[in-house]
């Protein structure tokens, strides 16, 4: 296999894997019992999913500026995701600090 083919296979693999994590995050949105736990699924799975997609796209970009650009997109998305996740979580926090006691399947 030539270098081009290897990089293409790598891209397809990493991007598909990344999409799988987005899918897992969405599934978490549907299956998890309350908004706080759903936020976990979204922030974590999307971070890894987007990271993998960016990683997969790196070999397709030839210039170093392009690499840094892709990574900057990931970092800015992380900052946004982390901030919004915390803000939503803070807004949803029960006032007495007790855990929302429902749907906790035993591990």
């Amino acid at each position: 296999m030539s270098a081009v083919e290897i990089s293409t296979v790598f891209t397809v693999f990493a991007v598909s894997l990344g999409s799988l994590f987005f899918l897992a995050g969405t599934l978490g949105l549907l299956r998890l019992p309350d908004t706080l736990t759903r936020l976990h699924a979204l922030t974590k799975a999307d971070n890894l999913g987007l990271g993998l997609i960016v990683l997969g796209l790196l070999p397709q970009v030839s210039s170093p500026l392009g690499w840094i650009g892709l990574i900057a997109v990931w970092l800015l998305a992380l900052l946004a995701g982390a901030t919004v996740g915390q803000l939503l979580a803070g807004a949803l926090r029960p006032s007495d600090g007790t855990p929302p006691d429902r749907g906790g399947g035993s591990a």
């Binding site: 800015l76 900052l79 946004a80 982390a82 901030t83 915390q86 803000l87 803070g90």
Partner: protein, 318 residues
């Protein structure tokens, strides 16, 4: 006749569905939330229609800033407002529905009966664009061929601000705008407001700078700048300026003044109001764009910040 692409059909369905949600949902706050999502989908529609300039404006201004304005207003309305619960009777609603369907039907007929081939000013723009030295046809139209519209618009923004401020009660005059003041912001929001604005400034200036030749321009750039300012205000890192602040007022009218000044100079040097002397068109357009971006950003931010309130308002009202 070809069928529209599935993605277009999906977008149209989504736009209509979200619009229906904005109209039918019971709580005003949720309707405003729906409006934000609606604006974002509409921006995608504009991309499909080949107008990236409009799409950027719609996403930033139509969805982002308008949505923020309506959400904050919805949150400030009294909770026991009778307007939230009363609805007109079924008779009124049926008549309204029939009437509105008729209007929509008439418009749809107009769309289907538009003349063929479509009249277009695109060839005229293409033929004359090189004279302006600008590569983006929309920027060319906004600042050269239809510059009077844009000048009028920049003045409308100033007038809207004057109108907004004139709504303040007498005891509030001289105070600071109050819409964006609130309880102490959460720590993650403060952090975002400390980290993000420099990047927003770069993006805003970039949008202005490339706007001459690519999609982008002063309105889009100004919206990004205004959004950054509003983020800093909402996070409580800075206070909005008093409405009597002279530097701020000067900045708000600066763009219109530069525009009028260059336009008047054109009447003298190039023979017509708002005409640009040969060869100088592009630098002049860029100067106007830069000055307008500053003023529009300030005005958008101040429009969002609302009318002034008395200095003790935040403490007394609770």
């Amino acid at each position: 006749m070809s069928l529209p692409a599935p993605v277009d059909l999906g977008l149209a369905a989504l736009v209509l569905g979200l619009a229906g949600w904005v109209i039918t949902t019971s709580a005003t706050y949720r309707a405003a939330e729906g409006f934000v999502a609606y604006g974002l989908v509409l921006a995608l529609v504009w991309v499909r229609l080949g107008s990236v300039d409009v799409a950027l404006t719609e996403a930033a201004l139509g969805s982002g800033l308008t949505g923020l304005l309506l959400l904050r207003a919805a949150a400030r309305l009294p909770a026991d407002d009778p307007a939230e619960t009363t609805r007109p009777g079924p008779g009124v609603r049926v008549v309204a529905a029939v009437l509105c369907t008729a209007v929509a039907g008439a418009l749809a007929a107009v769309v289907l009966l538009l003349p063929e081939p479509a009249p277009s000013l695109a060839p005229a723009v293409a033929a004359n664009l090189s004279a302006t030295g600008v590569g983006n046809p929309v920027t060319g139209v906004l600042l050269a061929f239809r510059a009077v519209d844009t000048l009028g618009e920049s003045i409308v923004l100033v007038l809207a601000l004057v109108g907004l401020w004139s709504l303040a009660p007498d005891d509030a005059w001289g105070g600071r705008p109050g819409f964006l003041r609130g309880p102490a912001a959460a720590s993650p929001l403060r952090f975002l407001a400390q980290v993000l604005p420099p990047f927003g400034i770069l993006v805003g200036i970039h949008l202005l700078w490339i706007g001459a030749d690519h999609p982008g321009g002063k309105f889009q750039g100004a919206t990004v700048l205004a959004a950054m300012w509003v983020l800093v205000l909402v996070a409580g890192l800075r206070q909005p300026p008093r409405v009597t602040s002279r530097p701020m007022r000067g900045l708000a009218v600066f763009g219109s003044l530069v525009f009028v000044g260059i336009g008047t100079a054109g009447a003298w040097l190039a023979g017509a109001f708002l005409a640009y002397p040969e060869g100088l068109a592009k630098p002049l357009i860029l100067s106007i764009e830069t000055a307008l971006m500053l003023s529009v950003a300030v005005i958008l931010g101040l429009l969002l910040a609302g009318p002034p309130e008395p200095d003790d308002a935040a403490g007394v009202r609770s």
